[in-house]
């Protein structure tokens, strides 16, 4: 396995499972199960035990590896020089399960769907652009930007609404963009996260080639997961792309809408998606957008930015649900943290977080107190219709 030369260096001291001030346990599976085996250090030791032959692949081993959300809280808080490699190590351990063909059924099904249908929803590619029906969003045809939607925004009902809001906003702001619709191909971020590197590289190469043939150089992504794949992974495979998450574009433009925005008071908090925040250091842009909304009072959660608790959907868990729900699930804890701010809205900038947190709001019976809104939805809802 890759990283075998450093894996023994984990002392299991546990800084990795905490926040900056060590106040909270912040590793989703450890927070849920509390067993040391589910902490990043526990995982490191088990991966090493597996390499040494001290433990075998089993359902529990799979559960421990795949309940990790790859949220990078450990990367942010580990105190050792090899910290940058922690998520890579967990991904490499998953890769070795893929190589041996010993995957949990939910992961296997996800990968099979991507191979067969090109998306995890088992939907035909022809329907990929349906989210834009009725919006007159232009197909990509040499505009400045490609708006890349990704599987979740294309097929998931809740996420489609977010995709529509983003597209509408970009139109309102007169951004020159187009979409690929049925021609869009899965970005593969989750495929890689689940350890299927070979399939991921195939998808990435197809996308890179396709972008080249269409002369696509600048991409705006809806989903931080796609943003992550394009910026961090595609680069290593030779892509030459300028990639933005839509909040980066909005952050520069929202102020221009100022005289068209409502001013009635509204209290909003913000949940940092891991693939924007910890993985890609985009913390300020969403906050800048919120700050540009008149009447909006921003209430920061105690655990924010690098300390934000993952919604539990990362690392493929949005699809595989190996981490699972229940009272101790990260999404429910996160919603409770949001409620503490007194805000009536949790704003987010990720369709996967939106869904996870919305389900958690329902589970916590907070529907009349907390609404989950993507930042694009929030901005749109503040636009005065003339």
């Amino acid at each position: 396995m890759k990283y075998e030369d450093i894996i023994h260096r984990c002392f299991r001291c546990g800084f990795c499972k905490l926040t900056d001030d060590y106040e909270e346990f912040n590793c989703p599976p450890h927070k849920k199960y509390r067993l040391e085996s589910f902490s990043p250090g526990g995982r490191m030791w088990l991966i090493r035990a597996r390499i040494k032959g001290d433990v075998q692949i089993s359902e529990r081993y799979q559960q421990i590896l795949y309940s990790c959300t790859l949220c990078a809280n450990c990367v942010t808080h580990c105190i050792f020089p090899f910290k940058e490699d922690l998520v890579n190590i967990f991904t490499a351990a998953r890769e070795s399960l893929v190589e041996e063909g010993t995957l949990p059924p939910a992961v296997r099904d996800y990968l099979k769907s991507i191979q067969t249908y090109g998306n995890p929803y088992k939907e035909p590619s022809a329907k990929r652009g349906d989210w834009a029906n009725g919006l007159s969003v232009p197909a990509y045809d040499g505009q400045e930007y490609l708006l890349y939607i990704g599987c979740v925004g294309s097929y998931d009902e809740r996420a489609r609404k977010i995709a529509r809001s983003v597209a509408l906003l970009l139109k309102t702001l007169n951004i020159s963009f187009g979409i690929l619709g049925a021609e869009e191909i899965c970005d593969g971020n989750e495929v890689r996260a689940l350890g299927e590197t070979w399939l991921f590289e195939g998808l990435a190469q197809r996308n890179i080639e396709y972008f080249k043939t269409r002369n696509i150089k600048k991409i705006i992504t809806l989903d931080p997961h796609a943003y992550n794949a394009f910026t961090l992974e595609y680069k290593t495979l030779g892509a030459d792309l300028e990639v933005y998450h839509y909040t980066q574009i909005l952050a520069e433009k929202t102020a221009a809408l100022a005289d068209r925005l409502k001013t009635d008071p509204l209290e909003v908090t913000y949940h940092d998606p891991c693939y924007l925040g910890r993985h890609n250091n985009l913390y300020d842009e969403p906050r800048k957008i919120l700050a540009a909304l008149p009447g909006v009072k921003f209430a920061e959660m105690v655990a924010n930015r690098g300390n934000a608790l993952c919604c539990g959907g990362g690392g493929g868990n949005f699809f595989s649900d190996i981490l699972g729900g229940g009272k101790e699930s990260p999404a429910r804890i996160r919603v409770a943290q949001a409620k503490e701010t007194g805000a009536g809205i949790i704003s987010i900038a990720c369709p996967q977080c939106a869904k996870m947190l919305e389900d958690a709001v329902k589970a916590e019976d907070l529907e009349d107190k907390l609404a989950v809104k993507d930042i694009a939805e929030l901005v749109l809802s503040r636009l005065e219709t003339k």
């Binding site: 260096r9 002392f11 001291c13 546990g14 800084f15 060590y22 509390r34």
Partner: protein
């Protein structure tokens, strides 16, 4: 709840448990019985989980674990112990599991009782300066809680990783950042709630008589039956810990010297002033500029003038000890060191990566000051004999003794290196005892050395107490056993 009502409730649970056992002699499914107590989510016998609990981060060899159980309430602890007692299943309580001497790795298998789910800070009494906490409360969460809700108070925080428990530290007579001023963490215990191996739930300290947890006496000192016993006498479920004023200003002043023989005198003189908050000695053979004896004194104050005065006084002291020739003030302290000295807790665990091997263990001893030079030299000799670079951090414990650490980093991927670290620890432990020192948080091997040297009458007393409290010998067996 008043004491009598509490007693009634706990007795009811004991009785209910005993009556439920009608099928004596029948096969008992231990796993299912434990699940029935805590719920399935908090019991594991999976190999992957027991693998992690069967070893700690030090150099001790692994030992098998059968079950990991995470109770959420006192009653669950009570029922687990009743069950274990009935079935004679060993129970090892675990907090953070970070003594590095494998005290939480069972010597005779059975259940590891991981207390981390019991993590409530129940009460902070600001006026009487104490916190009542559950056994799983971590150092970090208590510190953060106090900072947020009681910023004028603090508790004594060890250099240990922040996820370790306050209770674990108190029970092993640990030491924190205000120990030099106020004493060991175990001295800061006002009282406890404990579950005995036979299921009774007792309160110790003022809470045994009143509903308040503000003082340990003046009644027979029962917390002593659980402090230093390594979980062999029962399970502590709650603990009342003394809190102390948290001064607003802190500063560090560092002295350096190369005179090992002068250490006892320097410590004596620096502690004679009675003005410091923290005081430790530190050295490291590499890089060269760290290869001196550094006396690190942390001063704290409520007022800026007070701090300035303390700094002035301590700077002047250097001029008086040995006519100004023994120690000198270190000017221009490196910013990284400045931060490391003032951080509470510092990231001391980085020592585990000194040799890029993820392993670190230390044997520690409470020594009288006069024994420090001999141990200082011996520690360096042992490190060199095993091909290691010597490094030390020793904290002065009030003005009477010192916690002296023999530190050894090792490479976890190299069995020979692990064996060398183990050997170095053993040599250190033997030397500690030869030098009339007291081994702290000793591993099972170290405990054997201590017990061999112990006054036989004292050893017999320990045995009698254990037998009286834990008749079936279920609590962390293998620890503090009298050699036959």
């Amino acid at each position: 709840m008043p004491p009598a009502a509490r007693w009634k409730r706990h007795t009811e649970i004991i009785n209910k448990f005993c009556h439920a056992k009608t099928d004596k002699g029948a096969f008992v499914n231990i796993y299912e019985s434990l699940c029935a107590i805590t719920g399935r989510d908090y019991v594991s016998r999976e190999k992957e989980d027991t693998y992690i609990y069967s070893r700690d981060s030090g150099a001790e060899p692994p030992r098998p674990v059968d079950y990991v159980v995470m109770p959420g309430t006192v009653e669950e602890v009570q029922r687990i112990l009743l069950f274990a007692n009935e079935e004679a299943i060993p129970v090892t309580p675990l907090g953070g599991g970070f003594t590095l001497s494998a005290l939480v790795v069972p010597q005779k298998g059975g259940i590891v009782l991981d207390m981390k789910r019991m993590d409530k800070i129940i009460e902070v009494n600001e006026l009487s300066r104490y916190a009542l906490i559950e056994a799983g409360v971590s150092q970090a969460s208590l510190r953060a809680y106090l900072k947020k809700h009681h910023p004028r108070l603090q508790h004594s925080t060890p250099e240990a990783p922040p996820a370790v428990t306050v209770v674990g530290n108190a029970l092993i007579q640990g030491h924190g950042h205000i120990t030099p001023r106020y004493g060991l963490t175990s001295d800061m215990v006002n009282g406890m709630e404990v579950v005995l191996p036979t299921g009774e739930v007792c309160r110790l300290g003022s809470s045994a008589v009143t509903d308040s947890w503000y003082t340990r006496g003046p009644i027979p000192d029962l917390p002593g039956l659980f402090i230093g016993w390594f979980g062999t006498t029962g399970v502590v479920t709650k603990l009342s810990l003394k809190l102390y004023p948290r001064p607003q200003y802190r500063e560090v002043i560092v002295f350096s010297s190369d005179d090992i023989d002068a250490i006892p005198e320097v410590i004596f003189e620096l502690t004679q002033l009675d003005l410091l908050e923290d005081f430790f000695l530190i050295t490291q053979e590499k890089p060269d500029w760290m290869n001196h004896i550094f006396y690190v004194v942390i001063l704290s104050a409520h007022f800026e003038e007070e701090l300035a005065m303390k700094i002035r006084i301590y700077s002047d002291v250097a001029k008086k000890i040995g006519n100004g020739k023994t120690i000198k003030v270190v000017e221009n302290l490196h910013p990284a060191l400045y931060k490391r000295f003032l951080d509470v807790p510092p990231q001391a665990a980085v020592a585990a990566d000194f040799r890029k091997g993820g392993g670190f263990q230390y044997s520690a001893a409470i020594l009288s000051f006069d024994k420090v030079p001999a141990c200082w030299r011996k520690g360096i000799e042992i490190a060199h004999n095993h091909g290691m670079v010597a490094s030390y951090v020793h904290q002065v414990l009030t003005c009477h003794s010192i916690m002296f650490g023999f530190n050894y980093s090792f490479n976890r991927a190299d069995d020979k290196d692990i064996a060398a670290a183990r050997q170095a620890i053993d040599e250190s432990n033997r030397f500690i005892l030869e030098t009339e020192g007291m081994i702290w948080k000793g591993s099972s091997e170290a405990q054997k050395l201590i017990m061999k040297k112990m006054d036989p009458a004292t050893a017999m007393l320990i045995e009698k107490i254990k037998k009286a409290m834990d008749p079936r010998g279920i609590m962390n067996p293998g620890n503090w056993e009298v050699p036959r």
